[in-house]
Symmetry: C2
Amino acid sequence: MSLDLNLRVSPRTVQQATVDKLRMAIFSGLFQPGSRLVESQLCAQLGVSRPSLREALRSLQAERLIEMVPNRGPSVPALSWEEAKAIYEVRELLEVEAAGRCAATIPPAQLHELRKALAAFEEAASRQDSMAQVTTAADFYSIILANCGNPVLEEVHRGLLARISFFRGRSMALQGRAHGSFLEMQAIYDAIAAGDEKAARKASRKHVLKARAAAKKFMDGMA
Amino acid sequence: MSLDLNLRVSPRTVQQATVDKLRMAIFSGLFQPGSRLVESQLCAQLGVSRPSLREALRSLQAERLIEMVPNRGPSVPALSWEEAKAIYEVRELLEVEAAGRCAATIPPAQLHELRKALAAFEEAASRQDSMAQVTTAADFYSIILANCGNPVLEEVHRGLLARISFFRGRSMALQGRAHGSFLEMQAIYDAIAAGDEKAARKASRKHVLKARAAAKKFMDGMA
DNA sequence: GATTGAAAGAATGTCAGACAATCCTGTTGA
DNA sequence: TCAACAGGATTGTCTGACATTCTTTCAATC
Protein backbone atom coordinates (compact mmCIF):
# COMPACT_ATOMS: atom_id res chain seq x y z
CA MET A 1 0.00 0.00 0.00
CA SER A 2 1.41 3.31 -1.01
CA LEU A 3 0.69 6.31 1.11
CA ASP A 4 0.94 9.05 -1.47
CA LEU A 5 -2.59 8.64 -2.70
CA ASN A 6 -3.26 12.32 -3.00
CA LEU A 7 0.19 13.46 -3.93
CA ARG A 8 0.26 12.48 -7.56
CA VAL A 9 -3.41 12.78 -8.29
CA SER A 10 -2.99 16.05 -10.04
CA PRO A 11 0.23 17.98 -10.50
CA ARG A 12 -0.51 21.53 -9.46
CA THR A 13 0.24 23.79 -12.34
CA VAL A 14 0.87 27.48 -12.15
CA GLN A 15 -2.32 28.02 -14.07
CA GLN A 16 -4.41 26.16 -11.49
CA ALA A 17 -2.72 27.90 -8.60
CA THR A 18 -3.34 31.25 -10.26
CA VAL A 19 -7.00 30.49 -10.80
CA ASP A 20 -7.39 29.48 -7.17
CA LYS A 21 -5.62 32.54 -5.86
CA LEU A 22 -7.65 34.91 -7.98
CA ARG A 23 -10.87 33.16 -7.05
CA MET A 24 -10.05 33.52 -3.39
CA ALA A 25 -9.13 37.15 -3.90
CA ILE A 26 -12.53 37.81 -5.44
CA PHE A 27 -14.40 35.91 -2.73
CA SER A 28 -12.64 37.71 0.02
CA GLY A 29 -13.53 41.03 -1.52
CA LEU A 30 -9.94 42.02 -2.19
CA PHE A 31 -11.09 43.16 -5.60
CA GLN A 32 -14.01 45.51 -5.42
CA PRO A 33 -16.95 44.67 -7.67
CA GLY A 34 -16.74 46.78 -10.78
CA SER A 35 -13.03 47.31 -10.46
CA ARG A 36 -10.80 46.54 -13.38
CA LEU A 37 -8.01 44.05 -13.19
CA VAL A 38 -4.82 45.16 -14.87
CA GLU A 39 -2.86 42.26 -16.25
CA SER A 40 0.58 43.66 -15.58
CA GLN A 41 -0.31 44.37 -11.96
CA LEU A 42 -1.71 40.91 -11.43
CA CYS A 43 1.38 39.37 -12.96
CA ALA A 44 3.57 41.24 -10.53
CA GLN A 45 1.35 40.44 -7.55
CA LEU A 46 1.03 36.76 -8.37
CA GLY A 47 4.49 36.27 -9.73
CA VAL A 48 3.39 34.66 -12.97
CA SER A 49 3.92 35.55 -16.58
CA ARG A 50 1.31 37.22 -18.70
CA PRO A 51 0.48 34.17 -20.84
CA SER A 52 -0.12 32.06 -17.73
CA LEU A 53 -2.21 34.78 -16.19
CA ARG A 54 -4.30 35.19 -19.29
CA GLU A 55 -5.03 31.48 -19.38
CA ALA A 56 -6.16 31.72 -15.78
CA LEU A 57 -8.35 34.69 -16.63
CA ARG A 58 -10.06 32.70 -19.37
CA SER A 59 -10.92 30.03 -16.86
CA LEU A 60 -12.29 32.61 -14.46
CA GLN A 61 -14.25 34.16 -17.28
CA ALA A 62 -15.88 30.83 -17.95
CA GLU A 63 -16.90 30.70 -14.30
CA ARG A 64 -18.43 34.13 -14.75
CA LEU A 65 -16.31 35.39 -11.90
CA ILE A 66 -14.81 38.03 -14.14
CA GLU A 67 -15.94 39.74 -17.30
CA MET A 68 -13.66 40.30 -20.25
CA VAL A 69 -14.42 42.93 -22.83
CA PRO A 70 -12.08 42.96 -25.81
CA ASN A 71 -9.54 45.77 -25.58
CA ARG A 72 -10.73 46.72 -22.14
CA GLY A 73 -9.50 43.76 -20.19
CA PRO A 74 -10.96 41.85 -17.27
CA SER A 75 -13.05 43.32 -14.50
CA VAL A 76 -14.96 42.05 -11.52
CA PRO A 77 -18.66 42.33 -12.32
CA ALA A 78 -20.89 44.08 -9.85
CA LEU A 79 -23.51 41.55 -8.88
CA SER A 80 -27.00 42.98 -8.84
CA TRP A 81 -29.85 41.67 -6.79
CA GLU A 82 -31.47 40.81 -10.08
CA GLU A 83 -28.67 38.39 -10.85
CA ALA A 84 -28.44 37.13 -7.29
CA LYS A 85 -32.13 36.27 -7.45
CA ALA A 86 -31.60 34.43 -10.70
CA ILE A 87 -28.78 32.45 -9.16
CA TYR A 88 -30.89 31.46 -6.19
CA GLU A 89 -33.67 30.33 -8.48
CA VAL A 90 -31.33 28.09 -10.42
CA ARG A 91 -29.79 26.90 -7.18
CA GLU A 92 -33.21 25.87 -6.04
CA LEU A 93 -33.79 23.97 -9.25
CA LEU A 94 -30.48 22.14 -9.03
CA GLU A 95 -30.09 21.57 -5.32
CA VAL A 96 -33.62 20.41 -4.72
CA GLU A 97 -33.24 17.86 -7.47
CA ALA A 98 -29.84 16.77 -6.20
CA ALA A 99 -30.95 16.42 -2.61
CA GLY A 100 -33.93 14.36 -3.68
CA ARG A 101 -31.86 12.03 -5.80
CA CYS A 102 -29.17 11.84 -3.18
CA ALA A 103 -31.61 10.64 -0.54
CA ALA A 104 -32.34 7.64 -2.71
CA THR A 105 -28.85 6.77 -3.80
CA ILE A 106 -26.16 7.89 -1.36
CA PRO A 107 -23.93 5.08 -0.11
CA PRO A 108 -23.29 4.76 3.65
CA ALA A 109 -19.66 5.84 3.42
CA GLN A 110 -20.62 9.08 1.72
CA LEU A 111 -23.41 9.64 4.20
CA HIS A 112 -20.75 9.54 6.87
CA GLU A 113 -18.75 12.14 4.96
CA LEU A 114 -21.84 14.29 4.76
CA ARG A 115 -22.28 14.10 8.50
CA LYS A 116 -18.67 15.13 8.99
CA ALA A 117 -19.12 18.08 6.63
CA LEU A 118 -22.19 19.14 8.57
CA ALA A 119 -20.24 18.95 11.82
CA ALA A 120 -17.46 21.00 10.28
CA PHE A 121 -19.94 23.68 9.30
CA GLU A 122 -21.43 23.71 12.78
CA GLU A 123 -17.98 24.17 14.20
CA ALA A 124 -17.23 27.01 11.78
CA ALA A 125 -20.55 28.63 12.60
CA SER A 126 -19.86 28.53 16.32
CA ARG A 127 -16.44 30.05 15.73
CA GLN A 128 -17.99 32.77 13.56
CA ASP A 129 -15.28 32.14 11.00
CA SER A 130 -16.96 33.33 7.84
CA MET A 131 -14.32 31.98 5.45
CA ALA A 132 -14.57 28.53 7.04
CA GLN A 133 -18.37 28.74 6.92
CA VAL A 134 -18.27 29.33 3.19
CA THR A 135 -15.90 26.47 2.46
CA THR A 136 -17.58 23.97 4.77
CA ALA A 137 -21.02 24.83 3.45
CA ALA A 138 -19.67 24.35 -0.05
CA ASP A 139 -18.22 21.00 0.99
CA PHE A 140 -21.57 19.91 2.38
CA TYR A 141 -23.34 20.58 -0.86
CA SER A 142 -20.48 19.21 -2.91
CA ILE A 143 -20.99 15.85 -1.28
CA ILE A 144 -24.69 15.94 -2.01
CA LEU A 145 -24.11 16.89 -5.62
CA ALA A 146 -21.37 14.30 -6.00
CA ASN A 147 -23.77 11.58 -4.89
CA CYS A 148 -26.90 12.56 -6.74
CA GLY A 149 -26.07 10.11 -9.49
CA ASN A 150 -25.80 12.76 -12.17
CA PRO A 151 -22.29 14.07 -12.85
CA VAL A 152 -23.58 16.81 -15.14
CA LEU A 153 -25.84 18.16 -12.44
CA GLU A 154 -22.82 18.28 -10.20
CA GLU A 155 -20.74 20.00 -12.85
CA VAL A 156 -23.35 22.64 -13.55
CA HIS A 157 -23.69 23.34 -9.87
CA ARG A 158 -19.95 23.65 -9.52
CA GLY A 159 -20.03 26.24 -12.25
CA LEU A 160 -22.36 28.27 -10.07
CA LEU A 161 -20.45 27.58 -6.88
CA ALA A 162 -18.11 30.54 -7.16
CA ARG A 163 -20.95 33.01 -7.19
CA ILE A 164 -22.96 31.07 -4.63
CA SER A 165 -19.99 31.26 -2.29
CA PHE A 166 -19.68 34.94 -2.96
CA PHE A 167 -23.16 35.59 -1.65
CA ARG A 168 -22.85 33.00 1.06
CA GLY A 169 -19.81 34.71 2.48
CA ARG A 170 -21.65 37.98 2.69
CA SER A 171 -25.02 36.83 3.98
CA MET A 172 -23.50 34.55 6.60
CA ALA A 173 -22.28 37.67 8.31
CA LEU A 174 -25.87 38.57 9.07
CA GLN A 175 -26.97 38.17 12.64
CA GLY A 176 -27.97 34.58 13.34
CA ARG A 177 -27.88 33.47 9.72
CA ALA A 178 -25.10 30.95 10.26
CA HIS A 179 -26.99 29.12 12.98
CA GLY A 180 -30.22 29.17 11.02
CA SER A 181 -28.35 27.84 8.07
CA PHE A 182 -26.98 25.03 10.17
CA LEU A 183 -30.43 23.97 11.31
CA GLU A 184 -31.69 23.89 7.74
CA MET A 185 -28.70 21.88 6.60
CA GLN A 186 -29.23 19.49 9.46
CA ALA A 187 -32.80 18.97 8.27
CA ILE A 188 -31.46 18.15 4.82
CA TYR A 189 -28.99 15.72 6.29
CA ASP A 190 -31.64 14.01 8.39
CA ALA A 191 -33.91 13.57 5.40
CA ILE A 192 -31.13 12.14 3.28
CA ALA A 193 -29.97 9.85 6.07
CA ALA A 194 -33.54 8.60 6.39
CA GLY A 195 -33.67 8.02 2.65
CA ASP A 196 -36.74 10.22 2.48
CA GLU A 197 -36.61 11.77 -0.95
CA LYS A 198 -39.62 13.98 -0.53
CA ALA A 199 -38.45 15.38 2.78
CA ALA A 200 -35.00 15.99 1.35
CA ARG A 201 -36.47 18.04 -1.46
CA LYS A 202 -38.61 20.00 0.93
CA ALA A 203 -35.75 20.71 3.32
CA SER A 204 -33.45 21.68 0.49
CA ARG A 205 -35.99 24.07 -0.99
CA LYS A 206 -36.56 25.65 2.37
CA HIS A 207 -32.84 26.14 2.84
CA VAL A 208 -32.38 27.86 -0.49
CA LEU A 209 -35.37 30.11 0.07
CA LYS A 210 -34.08 31.16 3.47
CA ALA A 211 -30.63 31.76 2.06
CA ARG A 212 -32.17 33.84 -0.66
CA ALA A 213 -34.08 35.90 1.86
CA ALA A 214 -30.89 36.47 3.82
CA ALA A 215 -29.09 37.53 0.67
CA LYS A 216 -31.85 39.97 -0.16
CA LYS A 217 -31.64 41.41 3.30
CA PHE A 218 -27.94 41.87 2.86
CA MET A 219 -28.27 43.44 -0.57
CA ASP A 220 -30.91 45.85 0.66
CA GLY A 221 -28.73 46.69 3.61
CA MET A 222 -25.97 48.02 1.42
CA ALA A 223 -28.11 49.84 -1.11
CA MET B 1 -27.92 56.27 -39.24
CA SER B 2 -24.88 54.10 -39.61
CA LEU B 3 -25.25 50.73 -41.21
CA ASP B 4 -22.47 48.84 -39.48
CA LEU B 5 -24.64 47.76 -36.60
CA ASN B 6 -23.10 44.35 -36.30
CA LEU B 7 -19.60 45.30 -37.24
CA ARG B 8 -18.54 47.11 -34.13
CA VAL B 9 -20.73 45.34 -31.59
CA SER B 10 -17.90 43.12 -30.57
CA PRO B 11 -14.45 43.19 -32.09
CA ARG B 12 -13.76 39.64 -33.12
CA THR B 13 -10.57 38.61 -31.50
CA VAL B 14 -8.35 35.80 -32.63
CA GLN B 15 -9.18 34.01 -29.43
CA GLN B 16 -12.91 34.07 -30.12
CA ALA B 17 -12.46 33.00 -33.70
CA THR B 18 -10.26 30.14 -32.56
CA VAL B 19 -12.79 28.98 -30.01
CA ASP B 20 -15.52 29.03 -32.63
CA LYS B 21 -13.47 27.15 -35.18
CA LEU B 22 -12.46 24.47 -32.73
CA ARG B 23 -16.01 24.10 -31.48
CA MET B 24 -17.26 23.61 -35.00
CA ALA B 25 -14.50 21.12 -35.67
CA ILE B 26 -15.56 19.07 -32.67
CA PHE B 27 -19.25 19.25 -33.58
CA SER B 28 -18.66 18.14 -37.08
CA GLY B 29 -16.68 15.16 -35.88
CA LEU B 30 -13.43 16.30 -37.42
CA PHE B 31 -11.73 15.33 -34.19
CA GLN B 32 -12.53 11.80 -33.16
CA PRO B 33 -13.72 11.39 -29.57
CA GLY B 34 -10.80 10.27 -27.46
CA SER B 35 -8.23 11.67 -29.84
CA ARG B 36 -5.59 13.96 -28.51
CA LEU B 37 -5.12 17.47 -29.75
CA VAL B 38 -1.53 18.46 -30.29
CA GLU B 39 -0.99 22.16 -29.75
CA SER B 40 1.65 22.64 -32.40
CA GLN B 41 -0.52 20.94 -35.00
CA LEU B 42 -3.54 23.04 -34.12
CA CYS B 43 -1.45 26.19 -34.27
CA ALA B 44 -0.37 25.33 -37.78
CA GLN B 45 -3.87 24.36 -38.89
CA LEU B 46 -5.54 27.43 -37.43
CA GLY B 47 -2.76 29.87 -38.10
CA VAL B 48 -2.57 31.21 -34.58
CA SER B 49 0.18 31.35 -32.04
CA ARG B 50 0.47 28.96 -29.15
CA PRO B 51 -0.50 31.47 -26.45
CA SER B 52 -3.67 32.38 -28.31
CA LEU B 53 -4.46 28.75 -28.92
CA ARG B 54 -3.96 27.89 -25.29
CA GLU B 55 -6.33 30.62 -24.21
CA ALA B 56 -8.91 29.23 -26.58
CA LEU B 57 -8.35 25.75 -25.19
CA ARG B 58 -9.04 27.00 -21.68
CA SER B 59 -12.36 28.36 -22.85
CA LEU B 60 -13.23 25.08 -24.51
CA GLN B 61 -12.20 23.24 -21.39
CA ALA B 62 -14.66 25.31 -19.41
CA GLU B 63 -17.36 24.26 -21.85
CA ARG B 64 -16.34 20.65 -21.24
CA LEU B 65 -15.81 20.24 -24.93
CA ILE B 66 -12.23 19.18 -24.32
CA GLU B 67 -10.39 17.71 -21.39
CA MET B 68 -7.02 18.93 -20.28
CA VAL B 69 -4.78 16.78 -18.14
CA PRO B 70 -1.60 18.50 -16.96
CA ASN B 71 1.40 17.42 -18.98
CA ARG B 72 -0.72 15.38 -21.32
CA GLY B 73 -2.47 18.13 -23.14
CA PRO B 74 -5.99 18.49 -24.45
CA SER B 75 -8.13 15.72 -25.84
CA VAL B 76 -11.68 15.28 -27.05
CA PRO B 77 -13.55 13.26 -24.44
CA ALA B 78 -15.45 10.22 -25.56
CA LEU B 79 -19.03 10.82 -24.53
CA SER B 80 -20.60 7.78 -22.92
CA TRP B 81 -24.29 7.04 -22.83
CA GLU B 82 -23.99 7.51 -19.10
CA GLU B 83 -23.00 11.12 -19.59
CA ALA B 84 -25.44 11.68 -22.40
CA LYS B 85 -28.23 10.51 -20.12
CA ALA B 86 -27.05 12.89 -17.42
CA ILE B 87 -27.07 15.74 -19.89
CA TYR B 88 -30.61 14.96 -21.01
CA GLU B 89 -31.76 14.86 -17.41
CA VAL B 90 -30.33 18.28 -16.72
CA ARG B 91 -31.71 19.53 -20.00
CA GLU B 92 -35.12 18.40 -18.89
CA LEU B 93 -34.72 20.25 -15.62
CA LEU B 94 -33.63 23.47 -17.29
CA GLU B 95 -35.70 23.52 -20.45
CA VAL B 96 -38.96 22.55 -18.82
CA GLU B 97 -38.52 25.35 -16.33
CA ALA B 98 -37.55 27.79 -19.04
CA ALA B 99 -40.44 26.89 -21.32
CA GLY B 100 -42.88 27.25 -18.46
CA ARG B 101 -41.57 30.64 -17.46
CA CYS B 102 -41.34 31.74 -21.02
CA ALA B 103 -45.00 31.03 -21.64
CA ALA B 104 -45.86 33.52 -18.97
CA THR B 105 -43.42 36.27 -19.83
CA ILE B 106 -42.40 36.30 -23.47
CA PRO B 107 -43.10 39.59 -25.25
CA PRO B 108 -44.88 39.56 -28.62
CA ALA B 109 -41.82 40.58 -30.60
CA GLN B 110 -39.85 37.67 -29.24
CA LEU B 111 -42.73 35.33 -29.85
CA HIS B 112 -42.51 36.32 -33.47
CA GLU B 113 -38.79 35.53 -33.46
CA LEU B 114 -39.59 32.16 -31.96
CA ARG B 115 -42.00 31.42 -34.77
CA LYS B 116 -39.39 32.36 -37.30
CA ALA B 117 -36.86 30.07 -35.64
CA LEU B 118 -39.39 27.27 -35.74
CA ALA B 119 -39.97 27.87 -39.42
CA ALA B 120 -36.25 27.86 -40.05
CA PHE B 121 -35.96 24.51 -38.34
CA GLU B 122 -38.81 23.11 -40.39
CA GLU B 123 -37.09 24.27 -43.50
CA ALA B 124 -33.80 22.70 -42.43
CA ALA B 125 -35.58 19.48 -41.55
CA SER B 126 -37.22 19.29 -44.96
CA ARG B 127 -33.86 19.86 -46.61
CA GLN B 128 -32.26 17.17 -44.44
CA ASP B 129 -29.44 19.55 -43.72
CA SER B 130 -28.20 18.23 -40.41
CA MET B 131 -25.86 21.12 -39.68
CA ALA B 132 -28.66 23.61 -40.24
CA GLN B 133 -30.98 21.51 -38.11
CA VAL B 134 -28.57 21.71 -35.22
CA THR B 135 -28.11 25.46 -35.43
CA THR B 136 -31.77 26.28 -35.97
CA ALA B 137 -32.87 24.00 -33.14
CA ALA B 138 -30.29 25.69 -30.94
CA ASP B 139 -31.67 29.07 -32.02
CA PHE B 140 -35.19 28.01 -31.15
CA TYR B 141 -34.22 27.08 -27.63
CA SER B 142 -31.94 30.07 -27.28
CA ILE B 143 -34.92 32.34 -27.75
CA ILE B 144 -36.90 30.46 -25.13
CA LEU B 145 -34.04 30.58 -22.66
CA ALA B 146 -33.39 34.24 -23.40
CA ASN B 147 -36.99 35.07 -22.54
CA CYS B 148 -37.51 32.96 -19.48
CA GLY B 149 -36.73 35.90 -17.27
CA ASN B 150 -33.71 34.31 -15.67
CA PRO B 151 -30.36 35.13 -17.25
CA VAL B 152 -28.52 32.58 -15.15
CA LEU B 153 -30.79 29.81 -16.35
CA GLU B 154 -29.95 30.89 -19.85
CA GLU B 155 -26.26 31.00 -19.12
CA VAL B 156 -26.21 27.55 -17.57
CA HIS B 157 -28.09 26.15 -20.52
CA ARG B 158 -25.65 27.77 -22.90
CA GLY B 159 -22.86 26.03 -21.07
CA LEU B 160 -24.52 22.75 -21.93
CA LEU B 161 -25.36 23.77 -25.47
CA ALA B 162 -22.14 22.54 -27.01
CA ARG B 163 -22.71 19.01 -25.88
CA ILE B 164 -26.43 19.15 -26.55
CA SER B 165 -25.68 20.12 -30.11
CA PHE B 166 -23.18 17.33 -30.36
CA PHE B 167 -25.85 14.74 -29.65
CA ARG B 168 -28.47 16.61 -31.59
CA GLY B 169 -26.39 16.49 -34.71
CA ARG B 170 -26.00 12.76 -34.44
CA SER B 171 -29.50 11.77 -33.44
CA MET B 172 -31.13 14.04 -36.04
CA ALA B 173 -29.65 11.75 -38.64
CA LEU B 174 -31.97 9.00 -37.45
CA GLN B 175 -34.85 8.14 -39.71
CA GLY B 176 -37.74 10.52 -39.12
CA ARG B 177 -36.29 12.12 -36.01
CA ALA B 178 -36.07 15.57 -37.56
CA HIS B 179 -39.76 15.64 -38.44
CA GLY B 180 -40.77 14.24 -35.08
CA SER B 181 -38.61 16.85 -33.46
CA PHE B 182 -40.34 19.56 -35.43
CA LEU B 183 -43.78 18.44 -34.30
CA GLU B 184 -42.69 18.47 -30.68
CA MET B 185 -41.16 21.91 -31.02
CA GLN B 186 -44.32 23.14 -32.66
CA ALA B 187 -46.27 21.92 -29.64
CA ILE B 188 -43.91 23.89 -27.41
CA TYR B 189 -44.39 26.96 -29.56
CA ASP B 190 -48.16 26.66 -29.54
CA ALA B 191 -48.25 26.34 -25.76
CA ILE B 192 -45.99 29.36 -25.30
CA ALA B 193 -47.98 31.38 -27.83
CA ALA B 194 -51.13 30.52 -25.91
CA GLY B 195 -49.46 31.58 -22.69
CA ASP B 196 -50.23 28.18 -21.24
CA GLU B 197 -47.46 27.55 -18.77
CA LYS B 198 -48.51 24.06 -17.85
CA ALA B 199 -48.83 22.92 -21.44
CA ALA B 200 -45.46 24.46 -22.26
CA ARG B 201 -43.83 22.49 -19.50
CA LYS B 202 -45.49 19.32 -20.62
CA ALA B 203 -44.59 19.78 -24.27
CA SER B 204 -41.02 20.65 -23.39
CA ARG B 205 -40.62 17.60 -21.19
CA LYS B 206 -42.00 15.40 -23.91
CA HIS B 207 -39.58 16.85 -26.42
CA VAL B 208 -36.55 16.21 -24.23
CA LEU B 209 -37.65 12.69 -23.44
CA LYS B 210 -38.11 11.89 -27.11
CA ALA B 211 -34.77 13.43 -27.96
CA ARG B 212 -33.22 11.36 -25.25
CA ALA B 213 -34.77 8.20 -26.61
CA ALA B 214 -33.47 9.05 -30.06
CA ALA B 215 -30.00 9.64 -28.66
CA LYS B 216 -30.10 6.32 -26.88
CA LYS B 217 -31.09 4.61 -30.07
CA PHE B 218 -28.20 6.24 -31.83
CA MET B 219 -25.71 5.34 -29.10
CA ASP B 220 -26.86 1.73 -29.07
CA GLY B 221 -26.60 1.60 -32.82
CA MET B 222 -22.92 2.37 -32.78
CA ALA B 223 -21.94 0.15 -29.86
C1' DG C 1 10.37 -14.89 -25.26
C1' DA C 2 8.80 -11.71 -21.97
C1' DT C 3 9.79 -8.13 -18.89
C1' DT C 4 12.38 -4.44 -17.15
C1' DG C 5 15.25 -0.41 -17.76
C1' DA C 6 17.14 3.49 -19.90
C1' DA C 7 17.70 6.87 -23.38
C1' DA C 8 15.98 9.57 -27.24
C1' DG C 9 12.30 12.15 -28.97
C1' DA C 10 8.08 14.71 -28.67
C1' DA C 11 4.83 17.62 -26.31
C1' DT C 12 3.58 20.52 -22.69
C1' DG C 13 4.20 24.28 -18.95
C1' DT C 14 6.10 28.50 -18.46
C1' DC C 15 8.62 32.52 -19.22
C1' DA C 16 10.63 36.93 -21.44
C1' DG C 17 10.33 40.34 -24.68
C1' DA C 18 8.36 42.77 -28.35
C1' DC C 19 5.05 45.49 -31.28
C1' DA C 20 0.68 47.06 -33.19
C1' DA C 21 -4.08 48.28 -32.15
C1' DT C 22 -7.03 50.22 -28.96
C1' DC C 23 -8.64 52.74 -25.04
C1' DC C 24 -8.38 56.36 -21.55
C1' DT C 25 -7.03 60.98 -20.03
C1' DG C 26 -5.52 65.42 -19.77
C1' DT C 27 -4.48 69.43 -22.43
C1' DT C 28 -5.15 72.70 -25.91
C1' DG C 29 -7.78 75.35 -29.07
C1' DA C 30 -12.11 77.29 -30.74
C1' DT D 1 -17.87 75.20 -22.23
C1' DC D 2 -17.09 71.88 -25.48
C1' DA D 3 -14.55 69.36 -28.91
C1' DA D 4 -10.37 67.75 -31.14
C1' DC D 5 -5.98 65.89 -30.29
C1' DA D 6 -1.81 64.07 -28.51
C1' DG D 7 0.31 61.11 -25.06
C1' DG D 8 0.49 57.34 -22.12
C1' DA D 9 -1.39 53.12 -20.56
C1' DT D 10 -3.25 48.64 -21.55
C1' DT D 11 -4.55 44.88 -24.18
C1' DG D 12 -4.14 41.47 -28.21
C1' DT D 13 -0.94 38.83 -30.36
C1' DC D 14 3.30 36.90 -31.91
C1' DT D 15 8.10 34.85 -31.75
C1' DG D 16 11.38 32.31 -29.49
C1' DA D 17 13.21 29.84 -25.83
C1' DC D 18 13.97 26.34 -22.12
C1' DA D 19 12.93 23.10 -18.33
C1' DT D 20 9.88 19.42 -17.18
C1' DT D 21 7.22 15.67 -18.16
C1' DC D 22 5.29 12.05 -20.99
C1' DT D 23 5.84 8.46 -24.60
C1' DT D 24 8.12 5.27 -27.17
C1' DT D 25 11.75 2.62 -28.81
C1' DC D 26 15.47 -0.32 -28.17
C1' DA D 27 18.46 -3.07 -25.71
C1' DA D 28 19.73 -5.96 -21.82
C1' DT D 29 18.52 -9.30 -18.50
C1' DC D 30 15.99 -13.09 -16.44
